[in-house]
Symmetry: D2
Subunit: 479 residues, 4 copies
C-alpha cells in the first residue's frame, strides 16, 4: 500500500539549497533588530484574522507594492485571472503550497485564489522568504507561515501549520523540493485519499517522485513541471544567456571584449553562455564529452578543445556540465594570474573547490561572492560564489522567467484538478504538450507577437487540430 | 505473410523528385550529341568486364578526379576505410543500392567495398546521375547501371539489372526513395528471405516503410536514417543557414543589408534562414503557428507577425513550414514591386504558384530558375525556382553535409548486418544513439576538434558508459 | 601652362583593369559569330541617327529590359529624375563620359539626360561593355561608342569619336580610370578652356589627377568621388561582407561552419570578411600591422596572430591588406591540403602567385576561376581567381552599390557644373560633406527609412544647419 | 599677453560633474562617523612626512590592496614602468595633477614617479575620491590633497596646496575638467613661464582650452587627449556595448530577449548599444538626423524610424545623441506602461526630465537610481538615473578602459615634456598618430595579440616607416 509509512525521518533538504536562489530583491528585506520569533508574536491582519505567521504584518504595504510591480511582468497569470472571471477552474480546490515566498509567488497565489482555490502556504527555504511579501499575503487573507531566517524546527512547524488544520484538508499539493510532500507522506498519509495530485517544480523533488513511483509508493498522480519544454528553455538557454554576463559584471566589473574564455559543456546552459560571450567580443573555447554536442559547437564557430590545451591562456573558466571535478586542482594550478573561475552548472561539484582549501593557498574575500585564492608565488585566482551557481548567487532571475514557471504550475494544477477519472494514474507525468504550448501562448502578448492560425484546409493537410498540440507529446525540443 | 504481393503496379516516384537535387556539379556533365542509348552499347572496362551500363566508360578518368576531390571532404568515410584494414565489418555483405549517383555516392560505395561488401547500384533519379562518375565506378569494377536522362523504362530496367543476377543475391538494401525496395517486393519477394535489412534515407521512402510496417507487411528490419539527429541538423539548420544566402545571391545578385524579409515557419530550416539573414543585416520577421516556436522566435530577436501585417512592406518572402498555401494569390497580389518569393520548405506547395498561372499575369524568364511574374499595372514579383526548394534548385549541397548522410548510411548498414539475432525485428528503427554519436565523432577531426573523455569517477557519477551513448535513445534534440 | 602638352604617348591603362570588374551579367552577352568589326558596319537607330558605334543595334530591346530592371534598384537616380522635372540642373551641360557600359551606367546616363545634359560616351574597358545595353542607349539617341572585345586601337578610336565632333564641345568630363582625361590632355588640350570640371571615380584615375595637381598641370577643378564616405563604406565594408561568402560559395561550394580562416588585414574590407565568416560559424584569425586596427580586432573577438602561427591549421586564407607578398611561397608550402587561398584586397600582388609558377608544382584548372596547385607530395592548394580580386572575379557587385557610385557621380557633376566662380580652383576635391549626406539620404527610401529632423531649438543647441552638413568636411568616418 | 589675467572669478565646474563618474567602487569607502575635517587633522605617514591631506592615513593598507588589484588590469602602465628602468623620460618633470583619485589614478601617479617625475595631486571632483587610495598614496610619499565630500572651499584649498609650495614649481599640468589650469591662470599666471605643457582629458576642459587658444590666451602647448582615436573607441563603442546591458540589469533585472527598444542616435555610443541589445535578442529601432549614419543603421539591420512611430510600442528608450530634448514630455505621455527610459549620451538634457516634475505625476523611488513616474491613470514610466548617464551612474567603467586613458595621459606628458623646441606652439594638439598607435600596442599583450611587422620591401611598397605611424595624422577613424 502506497500509504504505508515507515518511521518519519525528516531530512533537511531545504538546508542544501542555495540561500540566494530566487530571491533577487532580498537586500531590501528589513534587517531590523526585532529578535522575537514570529512564532511568539500575536499578530492580526486588518480583517482580524490571525491564521498566519510572518515576521511583521505591518510591512504589508511595502510588500503589496512589490507584488504590484511583479504583476506587470507576469502577464500570463494576469490573463488567466481575466479568463477566470466567468469560469472558476479551481473552484473547490484546496491547495497547500511550499515554495520560495517572493513577489512572484504572491502573484501565483493570488491567481490561484482568483481561479477559485483556497491556499495555505509555507516556505521551501529557510532564507529566501521576503518578509514584506509574506506580510502582504497575510494581510490579504492568505494563511502564510514563513519568514526569513527560520530554524529547521521552524521550517517543519510552518509546513505542519499549513496542513494540520481543523476543518480544512488539502486536495492539491504544489511543492518545490519535495519537503511538503515528504511531510504529508510521513505524518498524514491518509490525507492522500483526498488529494487529486501533486505538482512539483524542482529537480530534487521530481527525482524523489520518480523514486516513489519506481518503488510503487506514489499514491496520487504527480506532474513534473520542471521538464516542460518552455520552462527548460527559459531556465537554461535564455536565462543563462543574460545571467552569465550579469553575474560576471556584478562581481568583477571586467570587460568581455577580447577576453579568452573556456566554457565546459555545450548543453543549453553552455550554449547560452557561449552565445552571449561571443556577442560581446570574447574568444570562446568549448569542451564537451558528447560528440553530437561537440559537432554543434564546431558548427556554431567555437574551437572544441580539451581543458588542458587552453587552461594556461584563458582569462575565464565557466563550468556547465552537470558533472563533477571538471575543473581540478591541477587545472587551477596551471591557470594564469587573475583567471576568473565560476560555475553555471547544476551542482557545486563542477569545480573542485575543496582542493583549494589547503594550507599553502591563501583565501582573500574581496567582495561579496568574490574570493581571491592566492598561490605562494603571488598568483591569484578569482573564484566566484565559491563554485556555487553563479546566476543564482551573483545575478537575479528575471521575473519573466519566473512567470513561465508560475504559469506552468498554475496550468498543471488546473489540469490535474479537472482531469477526468483515469486520465492520470499513480505516476509522474510531464505537462501535456498542449498545456506547454498554452503556457507559451500566454506569454506571446508580452512581445506583441501575433500567432498565425491554420486554415481548415491546412490543418487537414498537416493532420493537426487547429488549436494544437502542434507537435507530438514526445517532442522535447524546439524546431 | 509479409511476402505476399499483389499485382506489381510500379509507381514512378522518381519522376516527382527534383531533377537537381544532390547534383551540384551537374553542369559539367557532358552534353555530347551521342544519342545512342547506353542499353544499346557494348562497353567494357579496362579489366574486360561488361557487367555495368553507363553512358560512356571513356569518361572514367574525369569522374575519378571528381571522386578524389570528394574524398578530401569526406574524412569520416576515409577514416572508416582505415579502420577496416584490420576488420572487414561488411565481409560477406551483398548490397544492392539505389541512390543518386554522384562523386559523394562513389566515395560511399568504394568505402563499402573497402569494408568487405560487394555492391550493385542503380540511380534513384532519372536526371541526377553524373555520367563521368558512373563511368569511373564501372571502370573500378562496380556494376553500375545508371545514366543521366534515363526513360522511365530505363529506370526500372537498371534497377532490375542490379537485383536480377545469375549467382548473386543481395542480403542488404540501401535505398533512397523506396523504389528499389518496392521493386523487390513486387518482383522478387522471396529475396527478402536472405535480406538482413533495409537502410532508407528519404522522407518518402521512410514513409512507405512505416506504412508497410503498420500494415504488417514489412518482412525485414529497416533503418530510418533520415531522422538521425546529426543528419537532421546538417540537412536543415546548418545547410540552410548557408544555402539561403547562396541561393538568393546566385539567382538575384541582391544585397541583403537593410532588406526586410519575412520567414514563414521557425523550425530548423527557418531558424537557419533567420540567423543567416539577420547576420547579413536584414530585418527579419517570422510567422508561426506553434506558440512554442513562436516564443523562441521572440527570444531570438524576431518580430512575430501574421503574414498579412508585413506583406506590403517586405523585400523577400521565404517559406519553410512544410505546410501548403502559406503564400496565397492574395498575398502575392499585395506584395510590393520587385518582391522576391522563394521556398526553402519540404514541398513545392507552400507558395500557391498555380494561382499565378492566370491570363492577366505575364511570366518572364529572366535567368535560369528566375521568373518575373508581371501584374497588369507593371508590378513584378521575382519567383525563384517556381516555388520548388531553393537550396536544391539554385544552390548546392556541400559535400560535408553529404558526408554526414553517407556515413550514417554506412554505419546503419554495418549495424543491421552485424546485429545479433533478435536485436531488430520486422520494424522500422532509428539509428541507435551510439551510432549517431559515432557519425558525429568521425566528423570532428575535420575541425581539429578534441573531445574530452570522462574519467572513471565522472562516468560513475553520471551513470554513463565512457564511450557513450551520452544521451538516451529518445533524446531527439541537442543540448 | 597647364595646357602645354608633350608628345602624346598613349598608355594602355585599360588593359590592366580586370576584365570582369563591374560586369556582373557579362555572361548573357551574345556570343554570336558576327565577326564584322562594328567600325565597319553601317547602322541606324529607329530615328535615323547613325551617331554611335555599337555591336548590333538590333539588340536594343533586350538591353532596354536590363536597363528597366536596373532602374528598380537605383531609386536614388530615379528620384533625381523626378526632382529634375521642374529644374534642369544640368541644362547646357555637355558631358563626355568614359566608364564601364552596363545597365547601371545606362540608368546614370539617362538620368543625366533627364537633368538637362547632353552626353557622349565610350567604354573604359575593352571587355566590360554589355552590347545589348550599348544598343539600347544608341536606340534612345545616346551617341555611344563601345562594344565588348575592342582592340586597343578601337578603344582610343571610340574615345576620340566622343570628343572630336563637329559643332559639339564637352564642358564636363566623367571618367573612370583617367584614360579619357589623358586623351583630351594629349590631343585636345585647348578643350579644357571650356571644361568646368572632371569627375573621376577610380583609384588609378584619382592618383593621376593628384599627380597632375602636384605638378601644377591640372587646369580645371576635379572631383575625387572615389573617396566619398558613403561610396567607400559600400564599396568596401558592406559589399565585401556579402561578396566574400558569395565568391567562396560560387567557386568552391564549401561549407563555412567550423572552418578555420585567417584574414590578413583588418581594414574595412577585412572587417566585412571577418564579420560575415564569424556569423556563418567560422573561426576567424586576423593579422595586422597597425596596432590600432589590431586592438579593434581583439575587441571584436578575433585572435590576432602572425600568419606563421596559424598557417598550418587554417582552411582558408584571405588577404585584404593593400600590401604585397603578404602570402609568400613559404606560407603556401606550409599550408595544409585543400587550403583555399584568395584575395579581397586592392591589388593582385598580395599573394605571391608568381612564386607558384615553378616546375615542381602542377596547376590544374578545376572550374572557371579555380585552380588546384599540386605539390609533389600530392598536397593541393585551391587558388581562386589566380590571386586577383575575388569579389570582382567570382562574385557580382550588387546594383545597389553601383547606385551609390552613380548617384555620387551625378551629384558631383551637378556640383561642379553649378558651383559659383571661385568655389573650386585647379585642384582635386572631395565631394562636399553635404553632397555626401545627400547621396545617403537619396538611398534611405529603399529601406523605408525615416530620418529625424532637428527642431530649430536643437539645431541651435548643436550649432548645426537643419539640412546639414551634420559632420565637418574632414570627418571621414561614420559614427 | 597671454598671461594677463582679469579678476579671479573661480567657477565651480566641479559641482556640475556627476558625482558618480569614475568611482566604481565608491561603496566600500568608509562611512565612519569621523566628522573632523581633514584640514583640521594632524597626520603623518610612516616616514614622518605630513605633506598631504587625506581623510585617514591609517586606511593606507586597504587602499594599497586596491591599487595592487588595479595594477593587474593596467598592463600598459606596468610595461612603461619596466621600460623606464633604463631611461627616465620624465626625469626632472614636476607634474601637478587634478583628476579623480581612484586606484587607477594611483597606478598612473606611481608610474609617472617611476618614470622620473615628481607629482602633487588634487581631486577634480568633490565626491569621487576614494579615501583609502588617497591614504595609500600619501603613505607612499605622494603629496595628495583630496577626500570624499570636500566643500567647494576645500576643493580650491586642495588645488592651491598642490601648486603653492615653497621651493617647488610645476613644469607640467595634468588636468581633468580644467579647474587646475584655471586656478593657475587666475592666481599664479607667472608659473606658466616654466610650464612645458598641459595635458587635458575631459570634454569640458578641452573646450575651455580651445576657447583660450581662439582668444589668443593659451600660453603653453596643450594636448587634447580626449579625442585620441584609441581612447574614443574605448570610452564609447566598446565601453557602452557592455555597460548598456550592465546598467539596465543592475537597475531593473529585466530580460532583454524579445524586448522592443528604440535607440536615439547611431554614433559610436548608439552603435555599441544597438549591437549589444541585438545580440541579446532585443528588437532594436534607431532614430538619426544624419543620413550617413542612418544608412549605416539600415545596413546593420536596424529599422530607421522617427521616435513617434514606435514610441507607443517600445519597452525601452535609450538616448545617445548629444542633443537636447530628444525625448519630450509628449513622448513620455505616449509611452506604454512600464517603459524604461534612460540616457547613454553626453549630457543629461537628452530626456526632458524637468517636464516630468509636474503636480499630476507622482515620483516613486523604487531603488537607488530607479524612479517610477506615475501618471494619473496608473501608468508607470521607469526612469533611470534621473536621465543622467546610465553607464556612469548605474554601471562601472572597467579598469581596462581607464588604462587606455591613463596610458594616453602618460604618453602625452612624455611627448610634451621631451618635445624639441618648436614642435608644439601655444595651441591645442591631438596626440600624434604614432603615440596613439603606441597606446594601442601597449595594450595588445593583454590579449596575447601578436602584431605583424612589415618587411623592408613591404614598408617601401607602402611608403611607410616600419614602426609607424601607419595612418596619417588626420585619420580619425579605424579601418
Amino acid at each position: 500500500d502506497c500509504l504505508t509509512s515507515s518511521t518519519p525521518q525528516i531530512p533537511s533538504f531545504c538546508l542544501l539549497v542555495s540561500p540566494f536562489s530566487h530571491s533577487p530583491a532580498a537586500s531590501y528585506t528589513d534587517s531590523s533588530d526585532d529578535e522575537t520569533s514570529p512564532r511568539d508574536k500575536q499578530q492580526k491582519n486588518s480583517k482580524g484574522s490571525s491564521d498566519f505567521c510572518v515576521k511583521n504584518i505591518k510591512q504589508a504595504e511595502f510588500g503589496r507594492r512589490e507584488i504590484e510591480i511583479a504583476e506587470q511582468e507576469m502577464p500570463a497569470l494576469m490573463a488567466l485571472r481575466k479568463r477566470a472571471q466567468g469560469e472558476k477552474p479551481l473552484a473547490g480546490a484546496k491547495i497547500v503550497g511550499c515554495t520560495h515566498i517572493t513577489a512572484q509567488t504572491a502573484v501565483l497565489m493570488e491567481t490561484l485564489g482568483a481561479l477559485g482555490a483556497q491556499c495555505r502556504w509555507a516556505a521551501c527555504n529557510i532564507y529566501s522568504t521576503l518578509n514584506e511579501v509574506a506580510a502582504a499575503l497575510a494581510e490579504s487573507g492568505f494563511p502564510v507561515f514563513a519568514w526569513k531566517g527560520e530554524s529547521e524546527d521552524d521550517f517543519w512547524w510552518c509546513i505542519d501549520r499549513c496542513v494540520n488544520v481543523e476543518g480544512w484538508q488539502p486536495n492539491m499539493i504544489l511543492d518545490d523540493g519535495g519537503d511538503l510532500t515528504h511531510w504529508i507522506y510521513k505524518k498524514y498519509p491518509n490525507m492522500f485519499k483526498k488529494i487529486k495530485g501533486i505538482v512539483e517544480e524542482s529537480v530534487t523533488g521530481v527525482h524523489r517522485l520518480y523514486q516513489l513511483s519506481k518503488a510503487g509508493k506514489l499514491c496520487v498522480p504527480a506532474m513534473n513541471v520542471n521538464d516542460s519544454v518552455t520552462k527548460q528553455k527559459f531556465d537554461n538557454l535564455y536565462c543563462c544567456r543574460e545571467s552569465i554576463l550579469d553575474g560576471l559584471k556584478r562581481t568583477t566589473d571586467m570587460m568581455f571584449g577580447g577576453k579568452q574564455v573556456v566554457v565546459c559543456g555545450y548543453g543549453e546552459v553552455g550554449k547560452g553562455c557561449c552565445a552571449a560571450l561571443k556577442a560581446m567580443g570574447s574568444i570562446v573555447y568549448v569542451t564537451e564529452i558528447d560528440p553530437i554536442c561537440a559537432l554543434q559547437a564546431c558548427m556554431d564557430g567555437f574551437r572544441l578543445v580539451k581543458l588542458n590545451e587552453v587552461i594556461r591562456q584563458v582569462d575565464i573558466v565557466i563550468t556547465c556540465t552537470g558533472n563533477k571535478n571538471v575543473v581540478t586542482r591541477e587545472h587551477l594550478d596551471r591557470m594564469k594570474n587573475s583567471c576568473i573561475v565560476c560555475n553555471m552548472g547544476h551542482s557545486n561539484t563542477e569545480i573542485d573547490v575543496a582542493s583549494l582549501r589547503t594550507p599553502e593557498l591563501t583565501w582573500e574575500r574581496v567582495r561579496s561572492q568574490v574570493d581571491h585564492v592566492i598561490w605562494p608565488d603571488g598568483k591569484r585566482i578569482v573564484l566566484l560564489a565559491e563554485g556555487r551557481l553563479l546566476n543564482l548567487s551573483c545575478s537575479t532571475v528575471p521575473t519573466f522567467v519566473l512567470s513561465i514557471t508560475a504559469t506552468t504550475q498554475a496550468l498543471a494544477l488546473i489540469e490535474l484538478y479537472n482531469a477526468p477519472e483515469g486520465r492520470y494514474k499513480q505516476d509522474v507525468y510531464l505537462l501535456p504538450k498542449k498545456m506547454d504550448e498554452y503556457v507559451a501562448s500566454l506569454h506571446l502578448p508580452t512581445f506583441d507577437a501575433h500567432l498565425t492560425e491554420l486554415t481548415d484546409e491546412q490543418a487537414k493537410y498537416l493532420g493537426l487540430n487547429k488549436n494544437g498540440p502542434f507537435k507530438p507529446n514526445y517532442y522535447r525540443c524546439w524546431f
